[in-house]
Symmetry: C2
Subunit: 465 residues, 2 copies
């Protein structure tokens, strides 16, 4: 029974936001092995992007504290026990991680970071071998996010702070009870990167296990999967097609070669992981073009041999509906064939006391449960929902000039691959996404990509988390 108010304001001196290299999204390992095997010599840059410019991160987070937390992680190595765990996992088939990759991890130290500040915002980026730099993504985000909350929480009156944790616990509990009413809903925790704190994520995971049992299917946090005896969850993400496509662009490949890079990546993925991790993330350059540009053979293979898609941008209802229709066009009944749609974009659950902050899990479940298998990767609103937990929400925080309710609104921060080295030059890397607000890359480069991939089906949506 942890005293959260005490620990967030007066953390122990060794309470670093990230304390173990497995405190990271599991997909960093599955993608990491892929990168290490197929792109061992590619250098990339990852950059932290705060989409909420009105939140002055550099005013809130102390730079020395940030450096100490980043440095701490750079001194970590994988423990023998961590590597035994990864080698011994059999949930996606045995020996999914090769000895080559495990040796790489054994010797890994996270590469250097570059940190500067204009007084309002930090610029934080990482450059080096792709397989190494990629590990920073969710670690850097978890560090920034926790230091942000620690700094803010220290400014709250004690009584507000204590009460806040009580209300947040109650809110989480009610959300879980609502899910429990629908025994068919299964969700996994995807909230490591934007968690309120390490300890709070652990708390949320334990509560979900206790309340939901097998309806709670696991966590993307490898460390916590390990500790709480849950299944580590994750497959692949946008960075793979982004870098691979950028490299094709650098070669001045013709349009068809560039378009096909996204499918060739999936073919290599199949070779590496067999049937274990076949979930498509179709939206890197828009889901519409993804399904439209495939040749027949690829379409057949994907329709038959892959479990389904993960939805990460665009209207969940339309995108999932489109996938079901596409399968139908391939003569596959999604539900009968056991196909899957994993929703992972800004999810939440409504409670009596609180409005929803994103897309409602229960509505999506009811909408699609008869048409396709659904699952949920629930992130920020699972590990970091503190809206409406203060009585002083409308008060302005001194120096920062934001109301308390603004700092809890959701914190849209990403750490994405932003450049790739080819022939000694750093080329920009682009994501188009189904959601125009989630696109990344310089605007002239984005235009070039749109010329190739088209713009069909892309919409403008608010990014909540």
């Amino acid at each position: 029974m942890l005293n959260f108010a005490e620990r967030i304001t007066r953390p122990f001196s060794d309470d670093y936001p990230v304390r173990n290299l497995t405190d990271i999204d599991f997909y960093k390992f599955t993608m990491g092995q892929f990168i290490h095997k197929y792109y061992p010599d590619i250098n990339v840059r990852f950059s932290l992007i705060n989409r909420e410019k009105h939140i002055p991160l550099a005013k809130i987070i102390n730079e020395a504290e940030l450096r100490a937390s980043l440095d701490y992680v750079r001194n970590l190595s994988f423990r023998r026990t961590d590597l035994y765990y990864l080698r011994g996992m059999d949930v996606y088939g045995q020996n999914m991680f090769s000895n080559e990759y495990l040796s790489f991890l054994q010797n890994l130290k996270l590469p250097e970071y570059e940190l500067s500040s204009d007084g309002e915002q930090y610029e934080l980026s990482f450059f080096g071998k792709w397989a190494e730099v990629t590990m920073w993504e969710t670690i850097a985000m978890a560090i920034i996010t926790e230091l942000y909350y620690r700094s803010l929480m220290r400014r709250l009156p004690k009584i507000e702070l204590e009460n806040m944790y009580g209300l947040a616990k109650d809110k989480l509990y009610r959300k879980l009870l609502s899910i429990k009413e629908h025994q068919g809903i299964k969700f996994a925790d995807f909230g490591q990167r934007r968690r309120h704190s390490f300890l709070w994520q652990k708390y949320a995971i334990n509560m979900a296990s206790e309340v939901l049992g097998s309806q709670f299917t696991g966590t993307s946090n490898t460390y916590m999967a390990f500790g709480a005896d849950l299944i580590p969850i994750g497959t692949n993400a946008h960075e793979l097609p982004m870098v691979i496509t950028a490299l094709k662009m650098a070669e001045n490949s013709d349009k068809s070669n560039i378009l096909s890079a996204q499918y060739i990546m999936l073919e290599k993925w199949e070779q590496m992981y067999g049937k274990g991790l076949r979930v498509i993330l179709p939206d890197t350059y828009g889901s519409k073009q993804f399904f439209a540009n495939m040749d027949n053979k690829t379409a057949q293979r994907i329709a038959n041999d892959w479990h389904g898609i993960r939805h990460d941008s665009g209207s969940p209802i339309e995108e999932c509906g489109n996938f079901i229709s596409w399968l139908k066009g391939m003569n596959i009944d999604a539900k009968k064939a056991g196909k899957l749609c994993i929703f992972s974009d800004g999810l939440d659950v409504k409670t009596d006391a609180s409005s929803i902050n994103g897309t409602d899990i229960i509505s999506l479940y009811n909408k699609f449960k008869d048409d396709i298998n659904v699952a949920f990767g629930w992130g920020t609103n699972f590990t970091n929902d503190f809206r409406n937990c203060l009585s002083i929400e409308d008060e302005i925080i001194p120096e920062i000039n934001l109301k308390w309710k603004d700092v809890f609104k959701g914190f849209s921060l990403v750490c994405k691959v932003s450049g790739v080295e080819a022939d000694g030059n750093i080329l920009p890397v682009v994501k188009l996404s189904n959601n125009i607000n989630k696109a990344t890359g310089p605007s002239d480069e984005v235009e070039k990509y749109i010329d190739i991939f088209g713009d069909g089906g892309r919409i403008t949506q608010k990014v909540t988390v």
Copy 2:
């Protein structure tokens, strides 16, 4: 910084002495797989034997508490994470545990226990499939030992109890500093079964890691190896030749068949584990006969392909010396060939403030370091040395009629295989040992074994722990 005095007298309601099925000596897994493969249908009985009859265990340990602790373990299963760890270990070669054995563990529940009491002593035993019953050995001992100390510690005045932990910490620290003065000494913790408590073993392990670094080579406690990122240590023990030989006796095999059972077991062990775990424990029926009764081919194989011996009874100096001489007779220079003697019988380290309770690690090291590689498996005096830590040592404990110093003298408790089922009958199982006081089995049966194996080299020694 744990308050040991508080936690031992007022443990949390879920502070069971054993809380996880991997809180067990690692050799239970290496032997367990062997048993599961080669003797899947053999039923055995394991019995707890308190060699110190003047210590009235049944008066000290509350029966309900004992049953609750045993029942708690019976409700445990191996966690997914535990099995990943075992599957992923590569320190003794990869995939040392087969999927067959891991599946067996996955489904394992510890078999029933039989507990009765005459008011002074408990009779505790376990009957069932050998591969299942064997798991009880170190678990049952750790439970009994911790409940014994909890009960006694509750009777101490607070000031004595607090002071006791301070002095015991200091004593352990001084022992470790003495070892540190001899950089060549390497030891592993073998103290799970007779530990003062779960928490105290954890404390001792952490202290040894901190003080000694790589001189502290690991622990036999699988759970703590896992948690503290140490190497789990263990190979095989007496129960294997004991049961296998008893089965030969039951078949009325001729003498040469009975004598050779101990070597056939080693051959099967080689087949199962390759080069990983080749340490001989020669003293089941006396080390002298072990080396004398081998045929030439076996002797050559063992001298060349096995790392060395573990010493567990008889004079450590004579037994190790005999091994070196035996190797010399086989034209092997023990030191040059990198052969090993692991001492594991009642070890201790002298400190200024306290006399030694057993055989001195440092003297053994100095005696043999130039002639053979030595290593130490340090048990009870590492995880449970509280001698001379009370000012009231000479006071008598009410009801029990023992002085305080008597209860800390060392606690010679074993849990050993005592019978094996053959053709529906339970046959006694015998160990002769180099130390007549360590022999187990009914005396008429012991005589039968002596007729076969001889009595050469056996001596009478005090059993300290």
